[in-house]
Symmetry: C2
Subunit: 152 residues, 2 copies
């Protein structure tokens, strides 16, 4: 039984997330997903749209996912010890330093293979969170412009 671990924010689920999780699971038999805490998301990206509990609960509903957890604040390697995966799968576009991760794991004597996934066709870029957000904002701007015209 090969256990694969995947990580991410998973705020507003899109097909890029699904592709990433499917590619990750192909590396083994079982998939454990670590969902970043709200404060980690704030530090690395932006204010999360959905709080961590909701992001976790939605991930748990996916067929492909066998286990899912919220990460730790202080030491992100603690959850790796607990999950004890055989492989950690990094998304092709995840801003994580592979070598730094390998060093940190070695320092903690955690034996796990780290695999960087290849870019997927039709993957996260096209169908990602940013595309969804910009569509919402474009619709909102359009609506505001229409209101201005109506007021004239």
């Amino acid at each position: 039984m090969v256990k694969v671990m995947a990580t991410g924010t998973f705020d507003i689920l899109h097909m890029g997330h699904i592709y990433y999780l499917k590619e990750a699971k192909k590396l083994g038999d079982s998939l454990a997903v670590v969902v970043a805490t709200d404060s980690t998301v704030r530090k690395l990206k932006h204010e999360p749209i959905n709080p961590q509990e909701i992001r976790l609960n939605i991930i748990k509903e996916l067929k492909i996912v066998d286990e899912a957890y919220i990460g730790y604040e202080d030491d992100k390697y603690e959850i790796v010890k607990e999950i004890s995966p055989d492989i950690i799968a990094l998304g092709f576009d995840q801003l994580l330093d592979e070598n730094e991760i390998k060093n940190q794991l070695k320092k903690r004597a955690i034996k796990v293979k780290v695999v960087r996934l290849n870019e997927l066709k039709g993957g996260s870029d096209l169908e990602g969170t940013r595309r969804i957000i910009s569509k919402i904002i474009a619709a909102y701007d359009f609506q505001k412009d229409m209101e201005k015209i109506e007021k004239r």
Copy 2:
């Protein structure tokens, strides 16, 4: 084997959708989901954020879902004939006229029970698409205001 049918737009998946699908499935053994076409969404609600294929594909990834299809344009009862459910589950907040549906089904000699689900605690209202969209817009407005201040 009791087959339940549920319907919706399912644009930007949230916990309200999951609660609705779980309550629907409780009525039977197997769950078939009909995802509204883009043109139906345009007619009834607004421009969809995600196109119908993506909305369908994400719904198919849910553990709770056994089958999923895109609805028909002209006669929405055609898909009911094809799926042949024992029960149609209407969400508590779905703007569908129960009696009108029952009449239309009768006219077509489709034998199926129509059940209106009760409102769920912590359900769609709190965690719905509108809440997600307004959070995105609030963040966008805040960012624009900050840019204005910086320009002064």
